[in-house]
Amino acid sequence: MCDQTFLAITFGPCDNCSQNKPLMNIYLKNEPINYCSLCVELMACQGLAKGETTNTLKAESESLKAKLEEERAKLHDVELHQVAEKIDALGQFVMKTRRTLKGHGNKVLCMDWCRDKRRIVSSSQDGKVIVWDAYTTNKEHAVTMPCTWVMACAYAPSGCAVACGGLDNKCSVYPLSLDKNENLAAKKKSVAMHTNYLSSCSFTNSDMQILTSSGDGTCALWDVESGQLLQSFHGHSADVLSLDLAPSETGNTFVSGGCDKKANVWDMRSGQNVQSFETHESDINNVKYYPSGDAFATGSDDATCRLYDLRADREVAIYSKDSIIFGASSVDFSLSGRLLFAGYNDYTINVWDVLKGTRVAILFGHENRVSTVRVSPDGTAFCSGSWDNTLRIWA
């Protein structure tokens, strides 16, 4: 889809400086104004304090960034994989596809496990959201959303509801009932409203609150019952693609990653951005907290996954190989945090040793790019969803 914009240039006296110049036809409060480009610039600069121009702000920003790097570098006295040298290497991995869940008519975009370790909800491009029983591969519920590209879905902690959203800019919660004949779409509750697509959603520790991230560059915390916005998080300068909540013991924070190559850590109560990391070279597609809550991993279009330590406030490991040139779309840790599973756009899943920084296995099986990877709540298996319309359970 191309948007072709044609700019018609008129030539004549400027309303402000009265000189004959090419005019920019702009609208101020619905009134058409014909200013020359010089006057438009002057007008835009009036919003800044005296002496501030884009250049001075940029210069100040660069110098602060340099200072920040300096402060961080002071504490970078050893590499994680050096400290990890004395640990035993992991044995050979034998992981195979144990179940293949077929039923989606189009690309699978997102999935989530239920806390009962058995049920899975998945969403796809054609607007279908399906709840599966992973042990038997039976479909338990299916809902058709009114929009396509359902990019986010999440299971409620109680297992009684699912939330999903995508191009409709909303996050909707569907309560799941035991009665198979009941029409789930009738009970839908719209909770979140963004001004652009919904990229990710997650329930907090209860069924009552949902955290969402969107293509409009913000994240937001909503109350499910009333649909009210409880807190909004501004700080990204481009689409936010993913978020993850800190494991419950460690407090009220969450991490988000986006197209501005930044990963930000936020305090949920104050809405404040407490830490920010910008070392990736391209969009960050997925972020995941480490099981201990002191670190998080990111997967990005620059074909690397990185581990950031929150207390040292820096990146401590990069998981990459020259032979991997496709972006990583999704990452998740095993229960202990020793393994990092990452799904890539070259149809494979790479398994990395988190501490040593080496790859321990490559898993083949999908016939199109892997869009989502999640380890089950008890760590016995992990599930991957792909653009080949299937989900696979590996153990």
Binding site: S61, D77, I87, S336, R338
Partner: protein
């Protein structure tokens, strides 16, 4: 939202954020790395994907033939 903000406003936002971050308390990697390693070592013993699960206990392993009940 981010798309509606002019470049100058985005730069201002980034600048305020950086000023906050320069003063965050940090710990050395030599302290935090061993702690991460200790955490992993402690939990690795119980990690089903590392130590493996016996065939009969794993709900995802292949079942035998059909079971008619």
């Amino acid at each position: 939202m981010a798309r509606d903000m002019s470049d100058k406003e985005i730069l201002k936002m980034e600048l305020d954020q950086l000023k906050l971050e320069v003063n965050t308390p940090r710990t050395a990697v030599s302290t935090t790395a061993p702690e991460i390693i200790a955490f992993v070592e402690g939990k690795s013993a119980e990690d089903p994907l590392i130590k493996g699960v016996p065939e009969d206990k794993n709900p995802f392993k292949e079942k035998g033939g059909c079971i008619i009940t």
